[in-house]
Amino acid sequence: MAKYSLKINGKTQLIDVDPSTPILWVLRDHLNMPGTKFGCGMAMCGACTVHLDGTAVRSCSLPVSAVGKQAITTIEGLSANGTHPVQKAWLEHDVAQCGYCQAGQIMSAAALLKDNPNPSDEDIDNYMSGNICRCGTYLRIKEAIKAAAKK
């Protein structure tokens, strides 16, 4: 076990866990932040996507010991009440079906737009292909990303 001081959604969180513990489980089990989802545990589905200093990363494969001083943003911290342009676009386009993957999709989309404010369809396909949606909402996700890009 080891003690860590993590900066998550603008707040400092102190935890004492095994250094190999993935951020996903730190969030879900230790910090009571279940918005970040477990899907595969091997960075293949994107359900666990969070931002590390603004970059989208798969938290299931990111050990707590590797985070250091980098700031983590989770879906709970993207906005206080769903007002981030990507979240708003998701609501406008009524994207979700089951909704399980959508936190990860939104975090990926927000990171994409931060780096590339006006992505082409191909840019979206390439960037978002790490996020699986079993309900098949890909077309709406793309529409929502394009709508958010215009905001």
């Binding site: 076990m1 866990v17 095994d18 190999s20 513990t21 489980w25 879900r28 089990d29 230790h30 932040m33 279940p34 918005g35 970040t36 989802k37 477990f38 899907g39 595969c40 545990g41 091997m42 293949m44 589905c45 359900a47 879906i75 709970e76 993207l78 906005s79 009440n81 769903g82 979240q87 998701w90 609501l91 009524d94 979700a96 079906q97 089951c98 909704g99 399980y100 993957c101 959508q102 936190a103 939104i106 369809d121 979206i124 396909d125 390439n126 978002m128 292909s129 790490g130 996020n131 699986i132 949606c133 079993r134 309900c135 098949g136 909402t137 890909y138 077309l139 709406r140 996700i141 793309k142």
Partner: protein, 748 residues
């Protein structure tokens, strides 16, 4: 004060005065609903265990609607409350929605599956809304001393020509004392202002802000995390294990083996049993449990043939499940062997033997499809807290009513001491109708006398599945010298279930028809997978019909329409399940909207398929282009007849999703076995369709009619496979008979 009337055989309405005033109309056999963002704004309680089975109208005109059926992405949390709100005449903005508890008496079976939710609740829910409205009108009539017939309602307000008006909330307490009307008049579709008008997902805000909605998010103080270790292959069982090292790992509470069912347990239809003995690993946190699990030294051994007692429609029967360790190539060979043997006749019209003997041309083709894993994005998980005299279980499941009796048996508790809470499900696709994981959680909690949450890893979920069965079917068509279709024969089977729907199209449209089936027992557990059986049949039959049309020199849509005309005007045989007019209507709409009759672009090839299942009709035209030497489904045009569409935009979303799901499974979906073990274990080797593989456009059209709603979650899925196969033939000049198509392409 409580009034009850019987609305129909299975539903009743009950009203009573809320403690704080207001009308509470509880209903049985009604739909489910959930907490929305509005609830938070209104500061209403939204705790997991605070749920009840009621419609409530508060004095400040907030309408709370609770549905019984759990949500897994099919939009019931929105579409079912819309049906209540429509007849109640309330402002949709004032409706809050909440998921109900499991309550067989008040809420009926609460089964989510079979594309049934809207269909099943269409009348009962509207009756509930209309009854409440009638009681509010009566209350206003008495208060104002005017005839009820002179009172009108709109957006939660009662009005009289004298100028008197009141919000529902103001009349709610009095309305609760009015007898529930015996008959209420329901609106006609032309008067709908909520139903058939798109409404946003009532849980949308919670989804996009990451609120704890799902079973895997369920948490109580002192809860432990549990995982199971199952045998590595179907046909294996636990021999012995040594957990001494694992038990020393940090955070670990206990490691033990347990049996799913006791010896001699009589399994119900949804009590699957993949492995009867497993190892449970329980600890304080998920990561600690995952790590300790790796340190257990386990010996497995062949299980051999096992006897199971099954309770089914035909009563109790003993089944010997073979112990063989299956390998996919052997499974295929065994199926090919069975396909040659005599099979069970399911339907016969005319004299197919003679017709085939006299045919000028016989076309015979065989189609195969593999096991499929459901791969819900949320892996199986369940919370359980079992104590001496009661149990609480909570999580994602499609069929609480079927699991309760089994839980009562395995926990040795009366059913009324078992509380089942249903969370939002991160996908279901049929998988969560089978309760093994619920029983496992309950067993583990019972042993520890502590609250636990069982979580499957993705590997557990995929290798310990309740798969779509492995199917095969051989189709034969006989043409006479004038290229008329004179006989049709389908013989199909599977491991361990056959796919055949003997009374579906083209049964009824061909004079000489034969359907036969066979099955091979297996230890691989299978279950419903989005449109069971249909998801294979539509692929095989619709591909075959395309080939028959080609041999006859007919356009594939015109050919199907000719057969449907025959089935309508002069049907062959009895019990034809489909309505030929509705089927033809979908094909005609599809032909129109896809531009089928216009010349094909040379780089873009089209294929068509249409299918009937779950009382609805769905068809697609897919446009395939070659991209980097690979076929890509660029556009899909879909036509659906599911009767009245309750929530059009959400319905469109579901059809688009079914199309994407169909493309993914047709091209990539496969779960294969080697010596009993699943060869795929996670998304690195089980390929799921991704963003860049989804079509650019899925253009969805619904047949406009006033038929009561029929199914929608499943019907658009099966025909995708056939439409793709037919478009692939045109793009690549080769027919694809074996799923997944990408594997067949890489072989050729």
């Amino acid at each position: 004060m409580e009034n009850t009337n019987t609305q129909n055989r299975r539903s009743f309405l009950k009203s009573s005065v809320l403690a704080g005033g207001g009308l509470m109309l509880s209903f049985s056999w009604l739909a489910n609903a959930q907490a929305t963002d509005k609830m938070a704004a209104l500061n209403l309680p939204e705790q997991w265990n605070e749920l009840n089975g009621y419609i409530k109208i508060t004095p400040d005109n907030v309408i709370k609607i609770i549905c019984p059926n759990p949500e897994f992405g099919q939009n019931v949390m929105t579409s079912l409350p819309m049906m209540v709100a429509e007849e109640l005449d309330v402002d949709w903005k004032n409706v809050v929605v909440e998921m109900g508890p499991h309550d067989n008496v008040k809420l009926g079976p609460q089964f989510t599956g079979g594309s049934n939710s809207v269909r099943m609740y269409w009348k009962p829910l509207r009756n509930a809304g209309a009854s409440a409205k009638q009681m509010l009108i009566e209350a206003a009539a008495q208060t104002w001393s005017v005839p009820a017939s002179e009172i009108t309602t709109k957006a939660g307000v009662l009005s009289h020509s004298s100028g008197k008006s009141a919000k529902y909330g103001e009349m709610a307490s009095k309305a609760a004392t009015i007898p529930v009307p015996k008959d209420v008049k329901l609106k006609t579709p032309k008067d709908f202002s909520i139903v058939s008008h798109s409404k946003k997902n009532t849980e949308g805000l919670k989804v996009v802000t990451g609120k704890p909605l799902f079973g895997i998010d369920y948490k109580v103080d002192g809860m432990l995390i549990a995982m199971i270790q199952h045998p590595p292959a179907f046909g294996m069982k636990l021999k012995s294990f040594d957990a001494s090292q694992a038990l020393k790992m940090p955070g670990i509470k206990d490691i033990f083996s347990f049996k799913l069912y006791d010896d001699g347990f009589e399994q119900g239809g949804f009590d699957t049993r993949t492995f009867n003995e497993m190892i449970a690993i329980v600890g304080k946190s998920t990561w600690e449990v995952m790590n300790a699990r790796k340190k257990i030294k386990i010996q497995w051994e062949a299980a051999g043939d096992t006897k199971e007692t099954m309770m089914g429609r035909g009563g109790k029967r003993e089944v010997t499940v073979p112990g063989r360790l299956e390998t996919t190539s052997d499974q295929l060979a065994l199926m090919a062997d069975y396909a040659k043997r005599p099979a069970q006749q399911l339907r016969k019209d005319g004299d197919p033997e003679t017709a085939f003997k006299n045919a000028a041309l016989v076309i015979e083709r065989t189609y195969n499809a593999p096991f499929l894993a459901h791969n819900t994005m949320e892996p199986m998980n369940f919370f359980a807290h079992v104590s001496e005299d009661k149990a609480l279980v909570a999580g994602p499941l499609q069929a609480p009513g079927w699991m309760e009796p089994t839980l009562a048996k395995i926990l040795n508790l009366p059913a009324d001491k078992i509380e089942i809470q249903m969370t939002r499900m991160g996908g279901g696709f049929g998988r969560r109708a089978y309760g093994q994981y619920v029983y496992e959680a309950a067993r583990i909690s019972q042993r520890l006398k502590a609250p636990i949450k069982l979580i499957y890893t993705r590997e557990d979920d995929m290798t310990y599945g309740i798969y779509r069965p492995m199917y095969t079917a051989t189709y034969r068509a006989a043409l006479d010298a004038n290229k008329n279709l004179i006989a049709f024969h389908v013989k199909g089977g599977g491991i361990p279930e056959n796919p055949i729907h003997a009374n579906r199209f083209p049964a009824g449209a061909v004079d000489n028809y034969l359907a036969e089936a066979w099955e091979i027992l297996s230890n691989i557990t299978i279950g419903a997978f989005r449109a069971p059986r249909s998801n294979f049949n539509a692929a095989a039959e619709q591909s075959f019909l395309d080939e028959v049309a080609e041999a006859m020199g007919k356009d594939p849509i015109a050919f199907r329409l000719d057969l449907l005309k025959r089935a309508k005007e002069n049907p062959v045989g009895k019990n034809n399940e489909y309505d030929a007019d509705r089927y033809a209507g979908v094909l005609e709409l599809l032909r129109d909207k896809s531009g089928w009759d216009k010349p094909e672009n040379k780089d873009k090839k089209r294929g068509v398929a249409a299918y009937f299942c779950h009382a609805s009709y769905a068809g697609h035209v897919v446009d395939i282009v070659m991209r980097d030497g690979q076929p890509y489904v660029e556009k899909v045009t879909s036509a659906i007849d599911c009767g009245i569409v309750v929530n059009p935009d959400a319905a469109k979303n579901m059809v688009q999703g079914a199309v994407v799901d169909g493309i993914g499974n047709a091209f990539y979906g496969a779960l294969t076995h080697k010596n009993g073990a699943a060869e795929q274990s996670n998304f690195h080797n089980y390929r799921i369709i991704r963003h860049n593989e989804a079509p650019k456009d899925i253009d969805v059209h619904f047949v406009q009619n006033n038929i009561d709603p029929t199914g929608l979650g499943e019907p658009p899925f099966p025909p995708v496979f056939g439409a793709i196969a037919n478009a692939l033939y045109k793009s690549m000049g080769k027919r694809f008979y074996n799923q997944p198509f990408s594997s067949e392409m890489s072989k050729s």
